[in-house]
């Protein structure tokens, strides 16, 4: 079998790029948050150094094999998701494996990491962790409805479940799905708020209440790996949304612009909002976002 070395290169460097972009976005978020709160905030590279520090910790504590593997699950899911999302349109290097999977597969592989994390958290024996997981899963059930409605609306409108086909159809600015199916975008972006876990949907970690919840028993290399995974995953999710709604990206600059714009939505929402209780956020998702989703589907059907 002939090996396409460009593809191999893509597979090797995509996670690295994703990590860098993700970490940078994380740093920027902290600065923006600080500025809005009238502070200066840490430098952009702060998150990166945090991760480096965590990896080089002298002591690492674990409660069992499931906890040991939990961050591995998480990062596996993040990287796999990334591989199946076309990063740059029609690029040999950056489409990776995206022809081998489709949207529904992506929806499921994205859960893989959460499941692994939840198991690890469960083994740690920390009640706060379990509470966090319970909340997180409940909340996920909340935002899943509008999100699926949006995805379904798009899939039936364009009669494909493959991301590359979707991108190919949005080759022109006015073909972007955000304009073609605005309600689907609305529903999806509201669900996206929940997915990202910023306020008002940050009851899962709720630092002051359940001591950060799920990650509270993780430290050292484990926390480092989790943060790495989180950065990659953020980038993967943003790219996915860009691909679906904003026509993907032909080059890196476009990609960064589009993803950053998308990223600012949950970040800015988060800064100015207090925290919902779990049932409140579930009810929120089942109200307007769901209505938007249903509208999106109905519009497509007619």
């Amino acid at each position: 079998m002939e090996i396409n070395w460009l593809k191999v290169l893509g597979i090797l460097i995509t996670p690295v790029i994703a990590f860098i972009v993700g970490v940078t976005y994380g740093g920027l978020t902290r600065i923006i948050t600080a500025r809005i709160q009238n502070r200066f905030g840490p430098p952009v590279t702060q998150n990166f150094w945090d991760i480096v520090k965590l990896y080089s910790k002298k002591t690492n504590i674990q409660h069992g094999v499931m906890q040991h593997l939990a961050p591995v699950f998480a990062i596996t899911a993040s990287i796999t998701t990334l591989y199946f999302v076309p990063v740059i349109r029609e690029s040999t290097v950056f489409t990776n494996l995206s022809f081998q999977g489709d949207l529904i597969f992506l929806l499921y592989i994205m859960v893989f990491g959460s499941l692994g994390m939840a198991l690890g958290v469960g083994q740690s024996g920390n009640p706060n962790g379990a509470i966090g997981v319970s909340r997180g899963l409940s909340q996920m059930v909340g935002y899943e409805i509008p999100f699926v409605l949006a995805i379904v609306a798009i899939m039936i409108q364009f009669k494909t479940t493959n991301l590359n086909d979707l991108i190919a159809m949005q080759n022109n600015f006015n073909h972007w799905i955000i304009f073609q199916s605005p309600f689907a975008f609305l529903a999806a972006i509201l669900a996206f708020l929940g997915m990202m876990g910023y306020a008002p949907f940050d009851v899962v970690v709720a630092p002051a209440e359940i001591a950060s919840g799920p990650p509270s028993e993780f430290g050292g290399k484990y926390l480092g790996l989790m943060m790495t995974s989180r950065s990659i995953f953020t980038f993967a999710k943003l790219t996915l949304f860009t691909d679906i709604f904003l026509g993907g990206a032909g080059d890196f600059v476009t990609l960064v612009i589009k993803t950053f714009a998308l990223y600012m939505i949950p970040v800015l929402t988060g800064i100015v909002n207090p925290r919902f209780r779990t049932e409140q956020s579930i009810r929120f998702f089942w109200a307007w976002p769901t209505v938007f989703g249903i509208l999106a589907v109905l519009i497509v059907v007619w």
Binding site: K57, K58, T59, N60, I61, Q62, H63, G64, V65, M66, H68, L69, P71, V72, I75, T76, T80, Y83, L97, Q100, G101, D102, I104, F105, Y108, V111, F112, A118, G122, Q123, S124, G125, N126, P127, N128, A130, S134, R135, S138, E144, I145, V148, L149, V152, M155, T160, T161, D165, A211, K221, L225, T278, E279, I282, R283, G293, I294, V297, V300, V301
Partner: protein, 616 residues
């Protein structure tokens, strides 16, 4: 050498022999059962596929038995799962009372299921259906006094189902004059509208009881909980599939000939989806592991029903694929739960926690089980779900797919709770001495777990028999390769690539993180945790197990309060009350009885014109 009658006779006679062995030489009872079951698996595998293998005339009816690809699929589920369950039973059931009875009922219900899948006419199907019902009923009431009420409910609902089928048979026989499948399938289209409608509804109802489709599911949670786990695996894994088997036949062989077929499909699909949804909700709030799995089972069967009802090639493939998968993963999960019960004596999720280190193999089984149920790749559950969603979307069932997707997401809740409560969380003092279960119990669990992985990477292996079975149901063809699934728009998922990616990344990162700081990593107990300065004592168990999904419960509000079960119970009570009053018609007073006689005579005389058309 492999004949249907041979399979029947072996199964039923072995039941009797096992019973007798229990009362004479109990030592060889278990091994006898295991060996026989192994032989049966082989026989079922080797049995040639032919529509008419055995036929004879009994009481004016032609009874025909044959092996179709469709039947064979189900027969293999029954046989293989039966073999695993009986392997598991040897240690699991050891020392329990009435083991002869257990094995007899076990073999009889297996035999009943073979009869159902091999029968080529409705009479023999019904005959064996009832055998399956009462033998499984015997196992439901096997355990204890508590089981009696549950058993009764099971039987009453089964009877309602069976009698629906019977009524349908009566209607069919009176209009077609034969109950052989060949004649029924051919002649059904010519029947009049109302008879057709009646037959289809009755058949679906009848089979729907066994597949625990809402609102006929109420027997299932209790019955699944109370049966010994080794049989629950069969109960949920194979026995409920008999309902699916029947629904498949009804839909594609009978209902499809009618004018109202699209309506039946649509309604049934929604019933399936709502079953999945509500069952998932109930499962989320269950506190007993087996009840949880029971509701989960109801929900999963809901998907299968929906898949069948949609009736596109892909959806049928999905349904049959999920049928096999459900048998595998529900078998695993019930066996794993049984293992927990075997060692701790309870399946209450609020009472057990932290078994992972004591029972690693069981945990692994449970883990594979929940990953498969949830449909997360790379295990086999995903392939089934993927096909189901794709087929729903491509057949324009937009809201249906959302409901299904939603219940499938909500399934994560109960699945996590299941594995968390039993295996994760803090380790307890009471379970300090718990050991892993014996190897005979481990082997079936691990083999099933392996199957989920194999079929996950290569769903085509399973789609091969599935597509053969679909050929029997109608002109359905589905495209697939050994590891690649296609939807009807030509999009695909390559499970081998997926599994490879996940596997490679997972292994590399695992190696890195294990090596990195290997010396500095140390294990601490689950009591040594960050709890804001408070240190839990040895006897304190901080595992969060009670009201695990309280916020979700609050979000759902009063949705959960609706319960058909209450309506059924109330109906039952009212009926019994009224029967009780009726009892007083018989006062025990001779004079009253004499009065009845005179009254009867008088009525006949007075209303003679009304009754006989002749005035006296």
């Amino acid at each position: 050498m492999f004949s249907i009658s041979g399979i029947f006779i072996t199964t039923f006679v072995s039941g009797l022999v096992a019973f007798l062995l229990h009362h004479s030489v109990p030592k060889i009872r278990d091994w006898f059962s295991i060996v026989i079951m192994g032989v049966i698996v082989y026989a079922v595998w080797e049995l040639p596929v032919k529509a008419n293998l055995l036929s004879f005339k009994l009481a004016n009816y032609n009874l025909v038995f044959g092996n179709t690809e469709y039947g064979r699929l189900f027969a293999l589920i029954v046989a293989v799962l039966g073999f695993f369950a009986i392997l598991y039973s040897k240690d699991f059931m050891e020392g329990k009372p009435r083991l002869g009875y257990f094995y007899m009922a076990f073999f009889f219900s297996i035999g009943g299921m073979f009869g159902i899948v091999y029968s080529q006419d409705l009479i023999s199907l019904f005959f064996f259906w009832e055998i399956m019902t009462w033998s499984s009923f015997l196992l439901v009431i096997y355990c204890c006094k508590e089981a009696q009420k549950i058993g009764l409910k099971y039987f009453v609902f089964s009877a309602i189902g069976a009698y629906s089928i019977m009524t349908a048979m009566v209607v069919l026989y009176s209009s077609i004059g034969s109950l052989q499948f060949a004649d029924v399938f051919a002649g059904f289209g010519k029947m009049d509208f109302w008879s057709q409608l009646l037959v289809v509804v009755l058949l679906l109802m009848g089979f729907g009881v066994k597949s625990a489709t809402m609102p006929l599911h109420v027997w299932a949670p209790g019955a699944y909980r109370i049966t010994p786990s080794s049989f629950t695996a069969i109960f949920s894994g194979a026995l409920s599939k008999m309902g699916i088997f029947g629904i498949g036949l009804t839909l594609f062989k009978i209902a499809s000939a009618t004018g109202f077929y699209p309506w039946v499909q649509e309604i049934l699909a929604w019933i399936g989806a709502l079953t999945a949804l509500f069952a998932t909700f109930y499962a989320v709030f269950a506190t007993d592991a087996k009840t949880l799995l029971a509701y989960s089972s109801i929900g999963q069967l809901g998907y299968i029903v929906t898949g069948l009802a949609i009736g596109t090639p892909l959806s049928i493939a999905a349904a049959l694929f999920l049928t096999v998968m459900h048998a595998i993963f529900k078998g695993m999960l019930f066996l794993a739960t049984g293992a927990v019960y075997y060692r701790t004596g309870t399946t209450d999720m609020t009472k057990v926690s932290g078994l992972i280190r004591k029972m690693p193999y069981t945990f692994l089984t449970a883990l594979f089980g929940i990953i498969t149920v949830s449909g997360v790749p790379p295990l086999a559950g995903f392939s089934g779900k993927w096909m189901l969603y794709e087929s729903l979307i491509q057949s324009n069932h937009y809201f249906l797919v959302v409901v299904i997707f939603f219940s499938s997401t909500a399934a994560f809740l109960y699945l996590y709770r299941y594995i968390f409560s039993l295996f994760l969380g803090q380790e307890e003092k009471e379970t300090e001495n718990v050991k892993e279960v014996p190897w005979l119990m481990r082997i079936p669990m691990l083999l099933l777990a392996l199957a989920t992985l194999v079929f996950g990477v290569a769903p085509g292996l399973l789609l091969h028999p599935v597509s053969a079975a679909m050929k029997y149901l109608g002109d359905f063809g589905v495209t697939y390769q050994t590891s690649v699934l296609f939807n009807e728009w030509g999009n695909k998922v390559d499970m081998l690539t997926v599994a490879n990616t996940i596997g490679v990344v997972f292994i590399i990162v695992t190696i890195i993180i294990t090596i990195k700081g290997y010396r500095s990593t140390r294990y601490v107990t689950t009591k040594d945790i960050h709890t804001s300065g408070e240190v839990p004592t040895e006897n304190e168990n901080l595992t969060y197990a009670v009201d695990f999904y309280k916020p979700f419960e609050r979000a759902l509000g009063s949705v959960l309060k609706a319960s058909v079960d209450k309506i059924y119970n109330a109906t039952g009570r009212i009926l019994e009350q009224s029967f009780d009053y009726l009892r007083y018609v018989y006062t025990g007073n001779g004079q009253t009885y004499a009065m009845y006689v005179v009254l009867f005579l008088t009525i006949l005389v007075v209303f003679s014109e009304l009754i006989f058309g002749i005035k006296l």
